[in-house]
Amino acid sequence: MKKNLIIPLAGIIILLICSFYYIYQPSSQKLNSKQVPDILFETNDFYRSENINQENLGDFYIINFFASWCKPCLAEHPLLMELKSKGVKIVGVNFRDDEENFVNWIKKNGNPFEYVIRDDGTIAYEMGLIGVPETYFIKESLTQKKIQGPLFYEDVEKYL
């Protein structure tokens, strides 16, 4: 009986060691622990030429990376406008874009953003951007959720 138990016991021990190791791996890879980088608040808003006021944004806000050359950004734009009308504050980050194209794009499609900043790629790098559009849901300066690609109604319905 005892001899038959050795192999399953060894298996369980190895499994336990592996699970313990997996759970206690460096927390750097856990998205929830990611803080909004300071550079975002050190960059001037495009229209007001002043830094983003963190107090004005409150505890919960959204950071949305977009560009005028990005077609999926156009697809999610009406949803961002709706979020704005419901009082959700959105910080728009215009990623690697031509200034004239960006201004015309906002004029044509509307401005859903509380603040808009232009980024040469530095903020995107600090935030860990993969591609535009990308949206970060921020609560108490920490990323709660990150959505790669365009937003869908299901992603934001609880804020509408």
Binding site: Q29, R96, Y125, L129, I130, G131
Partner: protein, 121 residues
């Protein structure tokens, strides 16, 4: 007079060669490093081979940091912190359990086979 002109010309050429070789070696170092960074939006490609917006931006940011004097190790640590370990083609060496697991399994099989063999005898 002519002699000093020749010397200054030679010196200029040598300086130019040194400068260009330094620039070339910097570029070479950087492109070697780019080859170790995975492009997260393209299958199996490094950022060196990729022309996606993600790869172009990452190359620019890495170059900026490198030119500021930040070492590749520090850049790599930062990249892993931001994007996770999948960003690097060279995984860190802390996966010892993964690498040792075949040896563990082999040892267990060996013990079982040996016991069975002894029992049969």
């Amino acid at each position: 007079m002519k002699m000093s002109k020749n010397i200054s010309k030679t010196l200029l050429i040598i300086l130019f060669l040194i400068f260009s070789s330094l620039t070339w070696s910097n570029e070479n170092n950087l492109s070697d490093y780019y080859k170790t960074i995975r492009c997260l939006v393209c299958d199996g490609q490094s950022i060196q081979e990729s022309d996606t917006e993600f790869a172009i931006n990452l190359k620019e940011q890495i170059k900026k940091k490198y030119e500021k004097g930040i070492s590749f190790k520090e850049i790599n640590d930062e990249l892993v912190l931001i994007y996770g370990e999948e960003i690097s083609f060279k995984p860190s060496k802390n996966h010892f359990l993964l690498w040792l697991s075949p040896i563990f399994i082999f040892l267990i099989i060996l013990i079982v086979v040996r016991k069975k063999y002894i029992q049969q005898k």
